[in-house]
Symmetry: C2
Subunit: 548 residues, 2 copies
């Protein structure tokens, strides 16, 4: 009965091979979706980093002799981009080794774990036993192809064939892999994925060819790219002892002052001097001489020092109010929309920034809240209810305070951009509830909802005014006529202006239902300008009537 | 503007250090909860594997001079178990190296990734910079202590101090670590965790000492342990090419027949012979001579062969109907409860088994469904709405079909046990929607809801009968009296039996409201026996009255 544990070590590939659910490769439907998005995101990142407006082509075709087999079945997935390519010596490891990649720097990018492309290849290999082919041209002159499989136990690529040939003058990378997929059950998510990606990356060309051969093309709306995200130094707030020790280890500075200036985000000479005084450390001390106790005390001071600057928004690349509003108006066609962009903030030394758009009414939105989540410009389509945005919007914000009823047709778009998004899963399905991020989403949402509340309350007021005018419209002609008769006048008093009609005076039939005043109707929905105008007119009317 | 990606490799420790949200160490509240559960689960696994009823002690005390500092603040976490201890040569790697552990075998255990204990230690180290101390005695004679930190960049333990001393005769392991925690915000989850763990592990002693010194003790209700889970061979269904190749590589058999019998779960000589014929492979072929094409064809045949036996339930250790029902009745005190245990099944070669309990009514359950999720006897307390059980119970099952209204006070307990739970996160928050598991939960839930539906419909019938009897009770005495008077009899006819009263014949006051018949009332709630009895009586009554 008694048994003793046996210990063993496994490789990172092995870990994710055994636990592919962790990376989102749960079933053939989800795996196909994940493979598409991971490779497409790598392609978009590569092009953007090189300052090239992305042009990404994705095709899924049934593999094998019988394309009419029912799902799940083997599919061939091809992803081609116009990025800068990959230097050939890096190709095998970049695509065939877990924990080897280009994402392990502090820079806003879609990819975060340097894992997705390799996971897609690994999944294809274990479900179809076919090798992957990666072709890349870093200079547009020559292109290099690698046919390879992953040696999972050893976590290393095993190249079966490699060959070079002339390129057509353009740089870029192409991946061809075969994997077991279920397109029937993933087609909707894949379609949503491209649609929502196009919404926030309107400077990209996206082409998707589905297994039936149908082509969906999202043409870029602009060639003006947002500034490419920059690699950044860690922000001093939230640096832990481990991180500090590593920086010391890799540093070459001879004194603490230049050490601080060189290795931390937005620390200049002035702030460095002030901080070192605060921490009780000599600015001339060589960093390598710091002992353990001093390091702990400095790290503690880093958290407490009040005068560090907030992270620079320049390292982040938000969607921007204009593009976001344009996307929202195009996709949701709301009656009202507003965007709130929060100032940059940080958590654990990583700068981040939250943008929230709230849309109301129109023909697309249905009663109840609909949430669209984005992180570093990628749409998050699974596991909504575990996401920090969902949590904030369902529990952290009191909608009634803003007079937005729960059944109102509201769309909320949240976008978090950061040099490091705290995803809860390797599959990038949802974002952890880091308190700093929670706070920013809350603040942005509240402000956006406050604006919506004002809109709704004005809309409500306008409707009340409308009703009032309808009543005036009904009784004023009578009063006017009676007054005229009592006074023995021949002309009616000029009342029509008051109910928004022209000043041509003709006698109205007393019982007739009057249409409301011109400026206040209009089926195409008020915008804020017209709304304000209407509100002023309303006030004028009320003044004229001496209140009600 | 143009920039090129730079490639780098990172260690597994580094990966989880950078991405600790993946393992559930998101914020000081969640991290404290995670550290408690990961260490407690390792302790329970160790004791159970050795066939010892677990005795686990967990204590959290504020660290430092000022215990009244507000949260978050440093806490010292101590976990002590009565397991078999760890051989001293394994201690540093087992606690200080990611992807090194004892969980990388096919055996049902709480731990799954061999990562949780090391993550707790890593989190403690990076938030407080204090080393962990692990003390263990594998023989009860000597105990060995290791004070160590993790070298994250290299993914290896760095032992600062080690010392040995005499033990007190008992085996076991003790972990002492310091970590930044928020007890205020995690106390409820930690309490729930112990409470729900006690519910399914009633053979364990659990002691929890909270930071104020308050002790909660869950005493074991039984010393009879469920059979210790056994390590098992992979089931042939769902073996992929990668897995098959590895087995071939590690095999020593000289022919395919003994290869099949030796390496696969529930494959005897008869089935092996039949399968090899089915796959068109000679039973005498040496496995090492298989070429790639043959391997792919055999793996394909493994999925299609209809005669493999289902996985043996003996390798799984479910809670069991009796213990589960006892737990449900104790915790939820329902009016009705039922347990459905599905036969063992498998996904991707891993056996699993689903148990579902449904409870209805009583004083604890509130209107609406409340879901309690367990996997390998651990409660899952976070991210409910992303879990396969939640998905099935909210979307996969049509409650109306079972005549269970959505607002009914229902508790559903799902327990999945498997040699490998397909968690979606390293933090073991929720389970992926593998189709096979989804199907089993669906089937179990439907059967349990069907039973609840029958109960409710009987209860409904009983209530209808009750109402009928109330009417009979009101009018029968009158009819009886009028009949008596019309017939000129002196005695009333014996009608009282019909309305469930004793047969002592006394005249009833005509207008008096009658209490319902004896067998059908009873405030303590009907059980199934009484319910059936009541149903029979009901039928008898209806027959006697000639229907209604």
């Amino acid at each position: 009965m008694s048994s003793r544990a046996t210990f063993a070590e496994i490789s990172p590939s092995e870990f994710f091979y055994r636990n592919r659910d962790l990376a989102g490769f749960t079933n053939p439907a989800r795996a196909l979706y994940m493979a598409v998005r991971e490779l497409a995101e790598n392609s978009m990142d590569a092009a953007e980093l090189a300052g090239t407006p992305p042009d990404v082509y994705v095709r899924i075709i049934p593999e094998g002799d019988n394309p009419d087999l029912p799902d799940p079945k083997p599919y061939r997935l091809t992803v081609i981009d116009n990025g800068p390519g990959v230097a050939p010596q890096h190709v095998p490891s970049a695509f065939g080794k877990v924990f080897y990649g280009s994402k392990y720097v502090l820079r806003q990018s879609r990819g975060m774990f340097g894992l997705g492309g390799t996971m897609a290849i690994l999944y294809g290999q274990i479900t179809t036993n076919k090798p992957v082919t990666v072709t890349t041209s870093p200079d547009g002159k020559r292109k290099y192809s690698f046919q390879m499989i992953i040696d999972i136990g050893e976590n290393r690529p095993s190249v079966l064939k490699r060959f070079a040939s002339d390129a057509d003058g353009t740089t870029g990378t192409r991946v061809d892999l075969t994997l077991e997929g279920d397109y029937l059950r993933s087609s909707q998510k894949i379609a949503d994925y491209f649609k929502q990606t196009a919404l926030v990356a309107s400077y990209a060309n996206l082409t998707f060819v589905d297994p039936t051969g149908q082509v969906t093309f999202y043409e870029r709306a602009t060639t003006s790219m947002p500034a490419a995200p920059k690699e950044t130094l860690p922000h001093p707030y939230g640096i832990d002892v481990e991180a500090f020790k590593r920086i010391v280890k890799s540093s070459e500075e001879h004194d603490m002052k230049s050490f601080m200036v060189t290795h931390f985000h937005r620390v200049g000479e002035k702030i460095a001097t002030k901080f070192l005084e605060f921490a009780g450390v000599s600015p001339r001390l060589p960093p390598k001489r710091l002992n353990n106790v001093q390091i702990v005390s400095i790290v503690d001071a880093l958290q407490r020092f009040p005068d560090f600057l907030q992270p620079d928004a320049a390292v982040l690349s938000p969607v921007g109010e204009e593009i976001l509003l344009a996307g929202v108006n195009k996709e949701l066609q709301p009656e009202f929309a507003t965007v709130v962009t929060r100032p940059p903030s940080s958590y654990s030394g990583f700068p981040f920034l939250v943008e929230v758009a709230v849309a109301y009414g129109g023909k697309v939105l249905q009663p109840g809240m609909r949430l669209f989540r984005f992180a570093n410009r990628i749409p998050l389509l699974y596991d909504e209810s575990s996401d920090v945005s969902f949590e904030v919007l369902t529990e952290g914000v009191d909608w009634r305070r803003y007079h937005v009823p729960p059944e109102a047709p509201v769309g909320v778009i949240t976008h978090i951009c950061s040099t490091r998004i705290p995803y809860k899963t390797v599959g990038k399905e949802y974002i952890a509830d880091r308190p700093e991020i929670e706070r920013e989403i809350k603040n942005a949402s509240r402000e956006a909802l406050r604006r919506l509340g004002i809109f709704l309350s004005r809309k409500g007021n306008m409707e009340a005014v409308q009703r009032k005018i309808n009543i005036y419209g009904k009784y004023l002609p009578l009063i006017a006529r009676f007054s005229k008769e009592l006074a023995g006048e021949k002309k009616l008093p000029p009342y029509r202006k008051l109910i928004g009609e022209g000043d041509t005076v003709t006698e109205a039939s007393p019982g007739g239902e009057q249409e409301g005043g011109g400026v206040l109707t209009g089926e195409d929905g008020p915008d804020q300008g017209r709304e304000q105008e209407a509100a002023e007119i309303e006030q004028k009317k009320i003044d004229e009537f001496g209140g009600s």
